[in-house]
């Protein structure tokens, strides 16, 4: 349907084809987006709670969580606002390791909760088998508060609104419950390569 825009030639980068999802452009910066003020969280007060339905089944303090097995992941991230960033490096604890440590087999859906009241929903299949982690460092350093530190969810194969900043809770559920942006018109799954940005995509 797209007709050409008179006079526009663009500045596409060669070699990105296949690596860049449709409609995205590569940025060298790292844009910050949030719904409200940045929470300032002290690690001394930080906890991560794992819930099954309404029931907490495990909780970690910062020290205990940092003692869990670590994984490093390096790759591309894609924001629904159309920027993509290549070769980002993160280190943290996979959701698999978290579930192992808690000794539970999870329900099929997840609702991740953040310190500022934000939430996002995921299928459990999108966060297991090494696909997601709770990240504790970015580029070899503690994650800056603006980018979700001290700990954020990282689910890089989906649009980055699913990588909830300031994550404080992972709640597994038997039925899908939509999170903050999903309730406001964004796609329930958010696959950048299928360009699943909005709920009517």
């Amino acid at each position: 349907m797209a007709s050409f825009t008179r006079g526009f030639f663009g500045r596409g980068r060669s070699g990105d084809e296949g690596r860049l999802p449709p409609g995205q452009h590569v940025t060298d910066g790292f844009p910050v987006l949030s719904i409200g003020p940045t929470p300032q969280m002290a690690t001394a007060d930080w906890t991560l709670t794992l819930k099954v339905g309404p029931k907490p089944v495990a909780r970690w303090t910062w020290e205990a969580f940092n003692a869990l097995p670590r994984t490093t992941w390096r790759g591309d991230i894609h924001c629904v606002t159309t920027w993509s960033k290549f070769d980002t490096e993160w280190e943290g604890v996979t959701v698999d390791a978290i579930l192992d440590a808690a000794g539970i087999a999870p329900d099929p859906y997840l609702l991740a909760h953040s310190a500022d009241g934000y939430s996002t929903n995921l299928e459990t299949g999108d966060v297991t088998d090494g696909k997601a982690m709770v990240a504790l460092s970015y580029g070899g350093r503690p994650i800056p508060a603006e980018h979700g530190g001290p700990a954020r969810l990282l689910v890089p194969h989906l649009y980055f609104w699913k990588s909830a900043k300031w994550v404080t809770g992972l709640q597994f559920l038997p039925r899908e419950e939509l999170g903050f942006w999903e309730l406001r018109g964004y796609h329930r799954r958010g696959d950048p390569f299928a360009e699943e940005r909005y709920s009517d995509d």
Partner: protein
């Protein structure tokens, strides 16, 4: 209030007018047949297509209130080396067609039903969605108390300045903070925004705000949000929209 948006298909938008709002900000008026209407604070995605099929997409906040007409105003900041903003500033002419999708955005939104008082804090082109809120208030709920604190480098960099001065004269409180110039009006401050600038806006508002909207570059938003929290505005009442990144 949570609402799912109107169906977001791509629509052809024709440029009906262009204006230089400041040396770096260009106002673009678009006629959009079939436009479903929008709320103040929402944005559109603009899609440009080059002859070889390459496409660029960027989001721009809507500056205008929904007055029932299929017409929108955008205001685009010219970014150094900006692929899309350079084209919109230099290559676009009246009669040209763009593709747009929207309205988008379900959180950084103000409707008359949300009520007030409302505090608006903008940095540079961050004023754009706040203008939609002021204009909506003027059109549909003029009794709502609303205050705008707008930061810009100089008096000449204040977008929509004449309209804001006129609105200030009719009980919307407008405070300008010019970082590189002395203040020109008694109401204004010079330098970057700080507690003094915010307290002027809050004093004019007269009551604690029920809603606060902060928009601009992320560094500006961080500073403004910290000031708002320090002034006692609850975090849950503050909504932020950030342009660009750290």
């Amino acid at each position: 209030m949570i609402e799912a948006p109107a169906r977001t298909i791509w629509r052809a938008a024709t440029v009906s007018a262009l204006a230089s709002l400041t040396p770096r900000i260009r106002g673009i008026t678009l006629d959009v047949p079939g436009w479903p209407g929008h709320r103040a604070g929402q944005h559109v995605t603009v899609r440009l297509t080059a002859p070889d099929g390459y496409q660029a997409l960027r989001d721009y906040s809507i500056a205008t209130a929904d007055d029932g007409r299929p017409r929108l105003g955008l205001a685009v900041d010219l970014l150094p080396d900006g692929e899309v903003s350079t084209f919109l500033h230099e290559g676009l002419a009246p009669g040209d067609t763009l593709e747009i999708r929207g309205p988008l955005g379900g959180h950084f939104v103000w409707t008359p039903e949300d009520g007030g008082p409302v505090l608006l804090i903008g940095g540079g082109s961050g004023v754009v969605p706040l203008m939609a809120m002021l204009r909506t208030r003027g059109l549909k709920a003029p009794e709502t108390r609303m205050a705008l604190l707008l930061a810009a480098r100089t008096w000449g960099d204040i977008a929509f300045r004449d309209e804001l001065l006129a609105r200030d004269a009719v009980r919307a409180c407008v405070t300008f903070a010019t970082s590189r110039e002395p203040a020109r009006r008694r109401e204004d401050v010079s330098g970057r925004i700080g507690p003094e600038a915010l307290s002027r806006a809050l004093d004019c508002l007269g009551q604690p705000p029920r809603h606060a909207y902060i928009c601009g570059a992320t560094g500006f938003v961080e500073t403004a949000a910290a000031l708002a929290l320090a002034a006692g505005i609850p975090a849950a009442a503050i909504r932020t929209e950030r342009y660009g990144g750290a």
